[in-house]
Symmetry: D2
Subunit: 381 residues, 4 copies
């Protein structure tokens, strides 16, 4: 089977998430990285491309040029990964969508509602697909959790408790990653809420199958001089009467990347922790808690769809990310061949991206209004 | 050393918390149970007293009579434990306070603000002490956590995340314990908020050393026909700018008695779980997490004040409860001898009880007003 | 119900295990400590007795005198707890057995095989019962594990992995506890093997229902100058073809009191850890692991026989120890009334004590013979 | 940087470990798979090659032919991965070593001592390197553990407790994986001892820096009809007086792939669990246990040499395996350029392979001689 051809915008030397996307693309052998506009700095773009084995004529410094050139090549890229800081998502995404090239974009969708709307408009008129890398949804046991909720193992969902705690911004920090993530001009008006709060919200929605209808949010910037929020407390209300709490923090000392989800229904409960992702605790009401394991006894179809190793061989963050790239490949191959993709293929998309933007905006609005309830736009429609 | 003499109101056959109080009183050998009004049913009161080795002439059916009789005896009780349902706290508490007999009362303080005020009034004019069994504060590592916060190990406190999750009321339940705890006439207007929410709030205050100034609460009764809340979501604001979240639930399937506290400051973080109470995770910012153990390396004065066994010999709920009784004994012995008690002795008291009532009232008020912020009375003064 | 009357030999000020026995005796309200030969030093014996509320005329300095006097009193003790160092077990045990007074003795049975034989002889001709406090057998989930094995939940038992790791003797130590436990004249020829290895062996036998037939042991004294073993490696063979490993260590840095048992059969496996005693992991082959909890869902009759609190209220070391005292009380009350005790009552006894002595002797013999297999006496008969 | 070119022998459709090697080779972008003798069945070899994008002219059915052809090509492979069942290791390994092509071989080295000797002889006269994929050594925290031991963080090593427990062979099993692994003609005389016991032994040696001098082993085949061992109990002695225990089992119900290592020295202890590989517990004697995390605070040079993601982003089995491929690439690139490789590069090699064969042989010999001590050949020289 031919590998698909991938391009990348952003992700030059010194970046974090670009390297993750590249490993994810390679891991299952579905993609070759063949083109890139890895940096707006020409020398750095060339050096980064050279490091990655990209041919010099496909090492671009301008993504507009790249979109045009790649669309014109017979061997042009099948998709582009956009891994720039948030405020630099919209322009390349739109350029590639207009060029008819599929887009795999890092989250959140954009830095501003205006950018998000522009992306949505471009997507609406493009033949190309838009994928958003809410990578945490691709953990096998998260897919299994979603399936278990959907088939009723928990009964009616009553409660969603989700949290995403880190501590790396507990003090003022002066590195490349911290710089743009705490700069409203580059990350958007939300800090922690956009960077990790959206992951938490998306994960909760993905597993519970429910979108919140209202939020009440109390956002803080605890570190002196910080211009965006570094801690987020949110109450959630869902349409069916379910309730939730979401906590996201970058100042919770002792937490590295502690994304944890708990969902409780009338008949059962589920608990999962991203830092120990190969186990999922499931309790049917009135029975002992079962520890479900990746690829282990009790695995469901969704939980075992991408088996690389047997149970007990821990998979992690990169494998989950790779699953998104493999699922995107399935969708794109189907599109190329004019067939409909495997119905089980699932990559977060524009809908998720817009829901995330809606969530950020509603939380910012609530927080600036003393944590009053704010309705989510999407939920209202 | 002479044991102190204890009486008990409530706690007859079939009760839960009465038995716990009796074990707690016995465990360290500081108390003898010698009198009781264990039930308002005369036969049951006698049978219960007989089971417990209480002499027939001190097996009362009426607590008024008991207070009077015991106060009159030369060998009368030093203190009475009040372990009745919430709505039955105030009357006996007041009766014994008026009789000059120390009171050890189960939490919450009372079922209504009126009852609480009446207790406060009685206490103000009594020579006797009032103790409230917020037993979770007496775990050794909770005392250590409080000391660590107070001495600045965590820097300035920014965040308090506290939760108390159970699942025993996930379905309608028809037993003695459930009956009064879900009956507003007996438990008070709050259900989960009073029964376990107050424990969570008290624990957070105890360790952090901070009282909330405002709460925004969203309370629910998920089980059909339930007349009091069974799930509680609360946002907390503290006077110094710190923030918090409190979750209490009796419908979180898979949780037995999961009281968990996390406190984060500018320089460190602490995490503790009541179900695994002999470890406390402490992370100084930028350093690996330390697992502190009861009686183990790194123990503080407060954490090792009541050593019964070496490290690795797990203590639990009953030992913590017993510590309250031993601390109460220290205070009472000092009072009897006219000396001031050991300054390190600590048992929650009327102040804690009133703070809990304030918290319940504020949460009920907030929840009935769409989760608007409500100021806590005590905090405003 | 009248409390039983307890005496104590050993356990004066500064001792560890004496205090534990006293708490255990008090906890369930079945015993009153009324007499003691708490120290061979007269002043210390009196002071200790006074601390404990023992009447002066029952504060003995000589256990022979105590046995005689108590046997002669109408209100004499029902049982005596012997909590002296190992080499001081035999003499008081024999004295009280001869006086017809029940004995509750700390483990191991004795310091030497000769002492053990003498105890056995005395017990054979006494009307009194002999109880040995292998306290770890009394954890609720250990009793449940035993019941699960016995009723076949694990199928045929194949493997027993047991370990008991501590680190307090990692360096030369000069305190009262270390002094006698590392002195062959007082602890017996075995150090670690007797002090904690016997607990591990007993626990494995208790749960698996099997006695080893052969051992191959490699014992070491890692700390310079130590005269008894501080680390024990043992291979075990059972009569039915099952195999086992036993590791006991007092020099495993990072372990406080880490007694862990794992039992595997053809159809299931069980895992338990003394430091987190309120959970028991059970895996039926081919199914997810269940976390069984004390008093929680899936509890068995044996596991819930002594319920003091609901699930999620952690019990620990002292509660398990107290259960032994309560079970002894059940047996003694039955003896006093001429009835047979509840068939479910279980306290380790002379058989366990002799099996432990057999185990120690076999391991010492094997280790001195280059870890050759040595048959256990008891098993051979 | 040009990718290196990889060939593969074995690993056709339906195999397990071949797919793992391919992911490992791809993950860090250092290797392209360009040739293979994936099956001895011609049709299956072609189909497998086609699946993997291998050009038809490099899809061999005979590894002798492949070695010759690839050695002759200007663009021939840099290395070959040998992922056949154990008894099929020696022939291809020798063929490629003779052809001057580097070999990356799955463990154990071979099925028989004769095969191992033949490989050693071929390696001695080849210009090519031999790498053995004891992949568990490449976990970041295992490398860190080794460094910590080497630099003395634990003091003098006293104890090594290692275990590798699985349960997949608890019952007779009739699939491709089980078939060859329980067939002495294909796996070698050892079953569990060779398949996973060697991993455990290698890991213990790697971290402790010590080779055992003597073993006493008790091997069993618990499942009826099984012709090789499925459970292994081994006592270990090291030259410096340190002792160890090794347990490997394929019938320990409830264990998926539970490789656990604990090392204790005079000054500290380390504990690690392959199923939760991103944490390492370290206890300095007399201080609280630290939880060290991959890429987290307290990371050492060896532990952070291959950083793909920040702390809290779990890595797993595949990443560790990929590190071996990346390290092999470093060594091979250096060889190609005539430079010496980075001194920190480390891939297990022939020495490890021979030590593993020595360990297997000694354990089989000991077990057949009633678990008498058997000296390890390597250790004796």
């Amino acid at each position: 089977m031919q590998r698909l051809k991938l391009g990348m915008v952003g992700g030059g030397q010194g970046a974090f998430i670009g390297g993750v996307h590249r490993i994810a693309a390679r891991l299952d052998g579905q993609w070759d990285l063949v083109a890139g506009a890895l940096s707006s700095d020409s020398a750095r773009a060339q050096a980064s491309a050279n490091d990655l084995g990209i041919a010099p004529d496909r090492a671009y410094t301008d993504f507009h040029e790249m979109a045009k050139a790649e669309a014109a090549r017979a061997d042009g890229i099948d998709a582009v990964a956009v891994v720039t800081p948030n405020h630099m998502h919209a322009a390349p995404v739109i350029a590639f969508l207009k060029a008819g090239i599929h887009v795999i974009c890092d989250k959140p969708l954009a830095a501003t509602p205006e950018d998000a709307a522009a992306i949505a408009q471009a997507a609406a008129t493009s033949s190309a697909q838009f994928f958003l890398t809410h990578n945490y949804t691709a953990y096998p046991l998260i897919r299994q959790a979603r399936e278990m909720v959907a088939r009723g193992d928990l009964g009616d969902i009553r409660l969603v408790q989700v949290e995403y705690a880190q501590d790396w911004l507990s003090e003022p920090l002066d590195n490349k990653q911290a710089a743009w993530r705490t700069d409203p001009a580059r990350s958007g008006a939300g800090g922690c809420i956009g960077d990790i709060g959206t992951h938490a919200y998306n994960l909760a929605s993905y597993v519970s199958g429910m979108a919140a209808t209202q939020v009440a949010a109390d956002l803080d910037a605890f570190v002196e001089g910080r211009r965006v929020d570094d801690n987020v407390h949110v109450l959630l209300r869902y349409g069916n009467g379910a309730k939730g709490m979401l906590w996201a923090s970058q100042v919770a000392v002792g937490n590295e990347n502690a994304l944890r989800l708990r969902v409780y229904g009338s008949q059962g409960g589920l608990e999962w922790d991203q830092e120990v992702p190969n186990t999922l605790r499931f309790t049917p009401f009135g029975a002992p808690t079962r520890t479900l394991t990746r690829a282990g006894a009790g695995g469901t179809a969704a939980g075992t769809r991408h088996l690389r190793t047997p149970a007990g061989h821990p998979e992690g963050y990169l494998e989950a990310f790779a699953t998104l790239y493999s699922e995107a490949a399935i969708v794109i191959r189907a599109a190329k061949s004019g067939q409909s993709p495997d119905a089980q293929a699932h990559v977060p998309d524009l809908t998720d991206g817009l829901a995330g933007m809606d969530f950020i905006a509603a939380c910012l609005s609530s927080s600036s209004n003393d944590a009053r309830w704010v309705s989510l736009t999407g939920a209202a429609t």
